[in-house]
Structure formats: structure tokens, C-alpha cells
């Protein structure tokens, strides 16, 4: 299992892997802000916050499903960033590194609350009624090649926590199965299996929105 320290310390400088920057291309002015922030420049840290607050907050919100907790975790993520930015060596995109830091903090928080492992186990071994339906041979309507973003966001929010976490990490955030397996302390096979089940559940939810279970506090109203 990765610890916070493992994720925050990258070791000696290495040649960056261009593939790691595909989804997180460098942002203009970011590199200068990072270097300045490493030297304790408060204004540079403020710029980094402005550049990354949305993505960090949205990631927290999707994983936690709760505005208040997502804001608390966003705060923690940037406090950690301020303390640990000196260990960022540039082998990956800064936002990838920051997202990994954030995911790890969220997972630690969930474990503290005793939720994460329970939730993951719940989806690794779902009960019959909880498991996505298998409907080969059925003639149910298909998604007709399009799903709108709002509907998908709503469906993702109603996924069981373990499914939601793997889906968000893989399909939204772009982490590889081996990275997810390390973060969640499970096998890559489990990560692949959970992702597949999450997509099957989403298919059900999108074809039949009435099957969505009520989801707590995903609205950002009142938080602005």
C-alpha cells in the first residue's frame, strides 16, 4: 500500500515520460510558479491554488460525494502541497502528481472513517441484488451512441463508493489499473473488474434513471 510519504517523494530527478503529460499538458506559467513556490514564494503558491483548485475540488467531490468534506479535503491537499512541493521533481505532470497526492489523502481520510475498505470490499464482493444485471440476450434499449455529461455525472454520483472510486480514477482521471491497484491496495485484476462493473451499473442507470438511489449532498449550492 502506498503511503503518503511514498507518493509525495519522487526520488532523484528522472527524464519525464511524455506519455504522462497527455491528459495534463503543462500550463503556461505553471513551471515558474512551482519553482517559486518551492522557494517559499507565497504569491506563487496562490497562483498554483488558482490554477488547480477546481480540479482538486472536483476530484474530492466525486470521491467523497459531499461538498463539506470535499472542501475540507481540498484544503488539506493544498496544505500538503505547500509543505511538500519541494519533493516534486517533474517526472510526471504537476497536476498528475497533485491529483495523486489528493487521492491518497482522500483514501486515508476514508480509511480513518472506516469507509473505504468496506466500500471497496462491498463492490469486490457485491451482493446479488447490488451486482450489475447481466442482460445478454435482452432487447433493452441501448444508449444510442450518446450520453450527456450531466446525466453521466448524476449517474456516477449514485454509484456505490467502491465502483465510483475506480471509475473516477480510471475513466475520468486517467490513472492506469496498476496505479489504481497500488492506491487502493488491490490487484490489477480487481481494478479491471470493478471498473467493468461500474460501467455496467452506469449503463443500467443511464437506461433507467429511476433506478438511481438518492445521493447525499452532491450539490455545490450554498457552498459558493
Amino acid at each position: 500500500m502506498n503511503t503518503e510519504g511514498q507518493l509525495m517523494t519522487q526520488g532523484p530527478p528522472a527524464k519525464p515520460n511524455p506519455g504522462l503529460f497527455k491528459r495534463n499538458p503543462p500550463i503556461a506559467g505553471e513551471a515558474e510558479a512551482i519553482e517559486a513556490a518551492k522557494n517559499g514564494d507565497a504569491e506563487a503558491f496562490s497562483r498554483l491554488y488558482a490554477l488547480h483548485k477546481r480540479r482538486v475540488y472536483t476530484l474530492c467531490l466525486r470521491m467523497l460525494g459531499n461538498v463539506s468534506e470535499a472542501e475540507d479535503m481540498t484544503q488539506e491537499a493544498f496544505l500538503h502541497l505547500f509543505r511538500k512541493i519541494g519533493s516534486f521533481r517533474g517526472e510526471s505532470a504537476f497536476s498528475t502528481w497533485l491529483h495523486r497526492l489528493t487521492v491518497n489523502l482522500v483514501l486515508m481520510q476514508l480509511r480513518k472513517k472506516g469507509l473505504s475498505l468496506v466500500s471497496l470490499e462491498e463492490t469486490i464482493n457485491p451482493s446479488e441484488e447490488d451486482a450489475p444485471k447481466r442482460d445478454f440476450g435482452s432487447r433493452d434499449p441501448v444508449l444510442a451512441g450518446s450520453v450527456d455529461r450531466v446525466s453521466l455525472e448524476r449517474a456516477v454520483a449514485s454509484l456505490p463508493p467502491g465502483y465510483r472510486m475506480v471509475f473516477v480514477l480510471h475513466d475520468v482521471e486517467g490513472f492506469e489499473h496498476n496505479e489504481i491497484a497500488t492506491m487502493l491496495d488491490c490487484s490489477t485484476g480487481n481494478s479491471k473488474s470493478q471498473l467493468h462493473k461500474a460501467r455496467l451499473r452506469l449503463r443500467e442507470l443511464l437506461r433507467n434513471p429511476s433506478s438511481e438511489s438518492p445521493k447525499p449532498d452532491m450539490s455545490t449550492e450554498g457552498a459558493k
Binding site: R23, G40, A42, E43, F45, S46, Y49, K53, R54, R55, Y57, T58, L61, R62, A70, E71, T74, Q75, F78, L79, F82, R134, D135, F136, G137, S138, R139, V142, L143, G145, S146, V147, D148, R149, L152, E153, V156, F167, D171, V172, E173, G174, E176, H177, N178, T188, K192, S193, L195, H196, R199, L200, L202, R203, L206, T220, A223, K224
Partner: protein, 106 residues
């Protein structure tokens, strides 16, 4: 992560039930779209529901990428709290110098 070809499947005799079993690995190992995998076209021709399922799952995965661009900001209190915490920590660790440094954030 498995590479394409890691799975030992006889695609000529593949049945829908077996296809379902292998689907997570097929998605994980496929370079392009599973729906366009030439090895599966025979199955898809015989079982259009398998193709419909794959296309739906591909649509979901493709749409999920659009969620990467966020739309919501955290409330202003998050930054206020961060400033406050950093000011506290700075005061504890470096005294007045840190206070002066963090005053620049305000």
C-alpha cells in the same frame, strides 16, 4: 496491466457468456475500440446484443473523459482557511519572518 494477447481465447468459438467473462480484460488490453476488434466481429455478427453492450460501455468511457474538465469551484472559505493555517504554521516554525512572508498572500 496485461498486454493484448495475454488472454488465451478461442475467438472462433467464443460464446456470449464467455465473452462477458473476458470483457473486463478485453477492455483493459485493447489498444483501440473493443467494438472494432477484428477478432470479435464474428461474435458481434451472430450476437448483436454483445456489440450493443460494448458500444454502450465505450460511450460511457468516452463521455467520462469530458468530466475531467471541472465546472465547480470550492467556496472562498477554503482559500481563507488555507491562508489561516499556513499563517499559524509559519508563526510556530519561523516566528515573525514567516508572518511577514505569509502576509503577502493576503
Amino acid at each position: 496491466m496485461s498486454e493484448p494477447g495475454d488472454i488465451n481465447i478461442n475467438f472462433d468459438t467464443l460464446k456470449p457468456e464467455e465473452f462477458e467473462q473476458y470483457l473486463p480484460e478485453l477492455f483493459a488490453s485493447c489498444d483501440g475500440k473493443v467494438s472494432e476488434d477484428p477478432r470479435l466481429q464474428q461474435l458481434f455478427a451472430a450476437h448483436p446484443d454483445c456489440l450493443a453492450l460494448v458500444r454502450d460501455l465505450e460511450t460511457i468511457a468516452e463521455t467520462a473523459r469530458s468530466l475531467f474538465e471541472p465546472e465547480d469551484d470550492p467556496s472562498d472559505k477554503v482559500w481563507t482557511n488555507i491562508q489561516s493555517k499556513l499563517r499559524e504554521e509559519s508563526a510556530l516554525s519561523s516566528g515573525q519572518d514567516g508572518e511577514e512572508q505569509l502576509r503577502e498572500i493576503d
